[in-house]
C-alpha cells in the first residue's frame, strides 16, 4: 500500500513539473501569440488592448496563477485561435482521436500478438517471415511516408477512400452519417494498424521464442498437458506482465503519433489541434493539450504498475508482505 502511495505521489510531482514547464516553455519560445490572431495593420494601442483582453499584459506570476486555476479546474480557458472554450474544442476533437486510436491500438496489438505467437510456434515458416518483414517495415518507414503512399493509391489513383476530413461535405444525416464517419476513418485506421502490428508481432515473437525454450515449458509438455495449455497457460502467461506494461506505456506515444496521422489525413482530432495550437502560440490550447497528454502518460504508467501486480502473482505476493 505504501508503495502505491509513493507511486501516486511521484506521479503527482511529475504532473506539477509538467504544468510548470508547460507554462514557462511556451512563453520562452520565440514568437508572439497575438500575431496569429490580429491583423498586421492594427495600431500599437489596439495590440495593447488585445493583449489586455487575453491577460498577457499582467505580470508573469499573476498569469501563472490564472493558468494553474484554469488547468486544475479542467476549464483550460479560451482558445486564442478560435475564441471558443478550449474544453469545447477538445470535446469536439477528442472523440475523433479516440475513435481512431483506440481501435488502431487494439487491432494492431491483437494482430501482432496472434502473429507473434504463431511465428514463435512455427519457426522458419511463412508466418515467421511475414512477422520479421512487417517488423522491419514498422521500424524502417516513417509513418507519414506510408500514409501519403496509401492516400496516393487508395484515395487518388483508386478513389476508394476519401482524400481528407472526418466527414463528407455536406455531412449526410441519419445512419448514413455513421457509415460516412467509418469510411473516413478506415484508411487512417488501416495505416496505423499496418504501421504498428509488425512491431508488436516481432516483440511478442521474440519473447515467446525465449519462453518456449525454457525448461518449464518442456516440463509442461512432459506433464502431458494440451498444446494450447502449454502455449497459453505456461509460455504466454509468463510473458504477459511485460506485454501489458508495454501496451500501456505505448498508449501516450500513440496519442502523440496522432499529430502526424491527423495532419496527413486532415482529420478533426486532438492531435492536429495540438499542432495548430503550438504553431500559433495559442497558450491555453497548447497548454491544455500537453497537460492532458502528460496526464495520460502518468495515468498509463500508474495503471501499468497496478496491472503488473494483477497479472504477476509473484509481485502480488511480495507486495502483500
Amino acid at each position: 500500500m505504501s508503495a502505491l502511495i509513493k507511486r501516486v505521489a511521484g506521479s503527482l510531482v511529475v504532473l506539477i513539473v509538467v504544468l510548470v514547464l508547460n507554462f514557462f516553455l511556451f512563453r520562452i519560445m520565440p514568437g508572439d501569440p497575438l500575431v496569429g490572431i490580429m491583423d498586421p495593420r492594427f495600431s500599437p494601442e489596439a495590440k495593447e488592448q488585445l493583449a489586455a483582453q487575453w491577460g498577457l499584459d499582467k505580470p508573469l506570476a499573476e498569469q501563472f496563477v490564472v493558468y494553474l486555476r484554469e488547468m486544475l479546474s479542467f476549464r483550460f480557458g479560451l482558445s486564442m485561435m478560435t475564441s471558443v472554450p478550449v474544453w469545447d474544442e477538445l470535446k469536439n476533437r477528442v472523440p475523433n482521436t479516440v475513435a481512431l486510436l483506440l481501435p488502431a491500438l487494439l487491432l494492431s496489438a491483437a494482430l501482432g500478438l496472434w502473429l507473434g505467437v504463431k511465428a514463435a510456434l512455427r519457426r522458419g515458416s511463412r508466418v515467421e517471415r511475414l512477422v520479421l518483414l512487417s517488423g522491419a517495415v514498422s521500424f524502417s518507414f516513417p509513418s507519414f511516408f506510408v500514409q501519403l503512399l496509401l492516400l496516393l493509391c487508395f484515395a487518388y489513383v483508386w478513389p476508394i477512400f476519401p482524400l481528407r476530413g472526418t466527414t463528407s461535405i455536406p455531412p449526410p444525416e441519419g445512419p448514413a452519417a455513421f457509415f460516412d464517419y467509418l469510411w473516413h476513418l478506415a484508411l487512417p485506421l488501416f495505416s496505423l494498424v499496418i504501421l504498428s502490428f509488425g512491431g508488436w508481432a516481432l516483440y511478442i515473437r521474440n519473447m515467446m521464442v525465449k519462453a518456449l525454450g525454457e525448461d518449464y515449458v518442456l516440463m509442461a509438455r512432459a506433464r502431458g498437458l494440451s498444446r494450447r495449455r502449454v502455449v497459453w497457460n505456461h509460455a504466454f502467461r509468463s510473458i504477459l506482465p511485460p506485454v501489458v506494461t508495454i501496451f500501456l506505456l505505448s498508449l501516450p506515444g500513440v496519442v502523440s503519433g496522432a499529430v502526424i496521422t491527423e495532419t496527413v489525413f486532415s482529420l478533426n482530432g486532438a492531435g492536429r489541434f495540438l499542432l495548430e495550437a503550438t504553431n500559433s502560440h495559442d497558450y491555453p490550447s497548447a497548454g491544455a493539450a500537453f497537460f492532458l497528454l502528460a496526464l495520460l502518460t502518468v495515468s498509463c504508467n500508474l495503471l501499468a504498475d497496478l496491472i503488473y501486480v494483477l497479472v504477476d502473482p509473484r509481485v502480488r505476493r511480495e507486495g502483500a508482505r
Binding site: 518449464y216 509438455r221 506433464r223 498444446r227 509468463s238
Partner: protein, 290 residues
C-alpha cells in the same frame, strides 16, 4: 555388449536400437555437422526395478531418456523403437503421446530449479495435472496435492504453506521434493529421473534419492535414473547400464558390474573412482598424523 537385458514378462519400457541424431546448424555439409548422440541403444526397465544409466557427460544418457516421452528438441532424428507395455510409442504424435505422459511415464527433471513455471504456485503445478489427467476438481486436487507433499517429506514445513508458495520461494531441496510429488501425482508406472539431484548438497542429495527409491519400490514403479555418479548409482540401482559415446558398452546387475566389470571403459571408470577414494583416504590419514 551393445544391448542390455530385456525382461519380457513385466517390461514396462523397452528401447530397441534407439538412435538419436541432432542435425547440424549450417545449411551446407549437414551430415558432417550432425551429432549422433545415441547409437543403436537397447535396454529395458521393468516395473519394480531401479535402473541406472551412467556415463560421462556427453555420453548420450539424457538424450536416450528424453527420447522415451518424446521430448527431444524439434528436428532431432530418432530411429529405432520405444515400447511401453508392448506398445510402440516411438512414432506417436504429440497429442497421442500426451496420453502416456505423466499418467504412465513421469519425469523428474535435471535440476528442478527451472522446471517449475515461475508464475504458478506448487499447488497449481500438481492440481493442473490432476484436473487434466484424472478429472479431479481443483478442491479435490488440492487435498491430494497436500497428501503428496506429505509423502515426499514436506509436511514438516507446513504443507499448506508449501502448496501456496511459488517456485522462487522454495529451496533447492524443497523444489526437488515438490518435483517428485508432482511426478507421483497421476500414479505413473514409470519414473524417468535425469540427474535429479545435481544441484543439491550431498546430504539433501542422499535424502532425496533414498526417498525416491523407497517410493518407487513401495509403489512398484520402474525408475530410470540418469547420473554420471557411478558410486551413487551402484548403491541405489538394481541394474546399471554404462554408456559411452552414445553406445551402451556394458550392463548388468549393479553388484556384478561394479565387482567384475567386463568392458575396459567400465573398468577405467571404477578404477578412477577407487583411486579417488584412495587419495581421499591417504589425505585423511595424513591429516590425522599431522
Amino acid at each position: 555388449m551393445t544391448s542390455a537385458m530385456i525382461s519380457s514378462e513385466k517390461t514396462a519400457i523397452e528401447l530397441r536400437n534407439l538412435s538419436v541424431t541432432y542435425p547440424g546448424g549450417g545449411k551446407n555439409n549437414k551430415e558432417a555437422r550432425a551429432v549422433k548422440a545415441v547409437r543403436n541403444c537397447s535396454f529395458s526397465v521393468a516395473r519394480g526395478n531401479i535402473v541406472g544409466l551412467v556415463g560421462e557427460s556427453g555420453s548420450g544418457k539424457s538424450s536416450a531418456l528424453m527420447a522415451i516421452p518424446g521430448l527431444l528438441p524439434p528436428g532431432t532424428l530418432v530411429s529405432g523403437q520405444i515400447f511401453c507395455d508392448g506398445e510402440d510409442i516411438s512414432a506417436l504424435s504429440e497429442e497421442a503421446l500426451n496420453v502416456w505422459r505423466w499418467r504412465r511415464i513421469a519425469l523428474v527433471p535435471q535440476g528442478a530449479m527451472n522446471s517449475f513455471t515461475p508464475h504458478l504456485s506448487v499447488e497449481r503445478h500438481i492440481t493442473e495435472v490432476l484436473t487434466h489427467h484424472l478429472g479431479m476438481t481443483r478442491r479435490e486436487g488440492r487435498g491430494y496435492a497436500a497428501e503428496l507433499l506429505r509423502t515426499v517429506g514436506l509436511e514438516a514445513e507446513g504443507t499448506s504453506s508449501i502448496l501456496d508458495r511459488y517456485p522462487h520461494e522454495l529451496s533447492g531441496g524443497q523444489k526437488q521434493r515438490a518435483a517428485l510429488a508432482a511426478a507421483l501425482a497421476c500414479g505413473p508406472d514409470f519414473l524417468l529421473a535425469d540427474e535429479p539431484t545435481t544441484a543439491l548438497d550431498v546430504i539433501t542429495q542422499k535424502e532425496v534419492l533414498d526417498m525416491t527409491a523407497a517410493l518407487v519400490r513401495e509403489r512398484g514403479m520402474g525408475l530410470l535414473l540418469v547420473t554420471h555418479d557411478l558410486p551413487l548409482a551402484a548403491g541405489l540401482c538394481d541394474i546399471l547400464i554404462v554408456m559411452k559415446d552414445g553406445v551402451v558398452v556394458e550392463s548388468g546387475p549393479s553388484r556384478l558390474l561394479v565387482g567384475a566389470p567386463s568392458h575396459p571403459y567400465t573398468r577405467r571408470l571404477i578404477e578412477a573412482i577407487r583411486s579417488l577414494e584412495k587419495t581421499e583416504e591417504t589425505r585423511e590419514t595424513g591429516g590425522e598424523r599431522l
